[in-house]
Symmetry: C2
Subunit: 282 residues, 2 copies
């Protein structure tokens, strides 16, 4: 496994692998790997001859009051975990290589970035779209792998790729969960023991929604109300939003129909946690 820091060098390597006929899979990350990241690498490893993982805590997707500085980092540990998964290249640029003096270009996916997490994190998805546009040019892979846990991010990246004609296939990979259902996240490390226990209500609220839908409920207010009840049983969990919407444009639905996304976000201690489920409603 090689670690590459220079964008132009990374690009040359990927081009040369592709010219020799190899399929390249790319996993963009901010590091501090957990099983969710490893699952993306495994999927890429299974589907592609060359696997490139980027590790870059992207400053432009953090708001001024957010946790850019505190975001957990452990590059050595990440490298050894990636190597065990058979990753071929780690792309690990520094901030100056990605955002040199004079940088001023941003990519914005407009409507999709305004709702859900976008409402409380202005500029977040602009930063995500911008860094992904850069990474897709630096790492011209056949496929890029994103976790379904960040459902809104996944839709935004798919939309950007389609709208700007990026020649890459975006693959969504199912959320990896702890045994009690909590979605894996680097930010789970911010939780105290008690917060960690109570954080499972996010998953439980989604399971409650799924069961209601299975039993025939189609009214989103009723479902959201029941989810709120589940979440309010955990006093350390402060609900930010419950969103029940279509899984393309993220438009809120009154009556459920088609492929729907139920997303939930909450603050638990110092952490802001999100989770979601996608359900096909007949």
């Amino acid at each position: 496994m090689r670690v590459i820091e220079v964008p132009s060098q990374m690009r040359e390597i990927v081009l040369s692998e592709r010219h020799s006929g190899k399929k390249v899979g790319f996993v963009p990350t901010m590091g501090y790997f957990h099983d969710g990241h490893l699952e993306l690498m495994r999927r890429a490893r299974a589907e592609c001859e060359i696997v490139v993982v980027s590790i870059f805590v992207n400053p432009t997707q953090f708001g001024p009051a957010e946790d850019f500085e505190a975001y957990p980092r452990d590059f050595e540990r990440d490298c050894s975990m990636a190597e065990k998964e058979g990753v071929d290249y780690i792309f690990h640029p520094n901030r100056e290589a990605m955002y040199p003096h004079g940088f001023q270009t941003y990519v914005e996916v407009q409507e999709l970035s305004k709702v859900m997490c976008g409402a409380s994190r202005p500029g977040h998805f602009r930063g995500v779209a911008t860094v992904c546009a850069k990474l897709f040019n630096i790492i011209p892979a056949n496929r890029a792998y994103f976790g379904q846990k960040d459902a809104q991010q996944l839709l935004i990246i798919k939309r950007m790729v389609e709208d700007l004609n990026f020649p890459i296939e975006i693959v969504g990979v199912p959320t990896v969960r702890e045994k009690d259902g909590l979605a894996m996240s680097s930010r789970n490390t911010y939780l105290s023991e008690e917060e960690r226990k109570q954080a499972t209500v996010l998953y439980q609220s989604l399971e409650r929604a799924r069961k209601l839908i299975e039993s025939g409920e189609r009214n989103s207010s009723v479902i959201a109300g029941e989810m709120e009840k589940v979440i309010s049983s955990a006093p350390l969990v402060r609900l930010e939003y419950i969103s029940i919407c279509d899984n393309i444009y993220l438009r809120e639905l009154e009556k459920l129909k088609g492929e729907i996304l139920i997303g939930v976000a909450a603050r638990v201690g110092k952490a802001r946690l999100i989770d979601n489920v996608v359900i096909n409603v007949q």
Copy 2:
């Protein structure tokens, strides 16, 4: 010469030409060719084995009160002119192919888009940057050729390419002028005979500035004042701005030093005309 309308097909053709070792030059245009466009094609023809010209009147770079509908179009004439220049491919997509239902992603080069023409044309350069990002993905050429006449556009595209790591070289090509100095522009067709005559004051004001600088003047207010005098001699020419700035960040200069851009914009009848000169000041 082949005309291609489908983005994915255009991309496949360019990739296949490049895989066979050929250098591809790309000239993005809105059609209605004049000698300025042809000069871009000649330069591409001289430097590259394959020349691709796009013809697309891009709706996202026109404001709601601007001349998108009135913009001159003559596809048949354009094709025969391009063929004479030895162009290999014309990319001629329709609006739906470029901006399908649900499109919502825009590329914005922030500071550079706010000044000069950006001040009176909000959203214009966002539209330009967005369509160029799309075109650079659809037509993965080695080089793209832009006219120096649109100096701000050229800087914005160069900045976008650098900021988003697009793997393409941007080449600026000197402005082509009529015998009396008027910069060639598709919008010159909007001018009446008398307006056409008076429009030459834009070029004359730039020549006046050049001579002042050659004779040692370094104070931009003095130069702008002299330029205004030249322009005000033409009653049909309504000055919009004179900008004297550095040729990277477009920051207004009080004292001239280094590579400077002098830009001028004016309304003449129904036309909005621009012109500029780049001067190296010791």
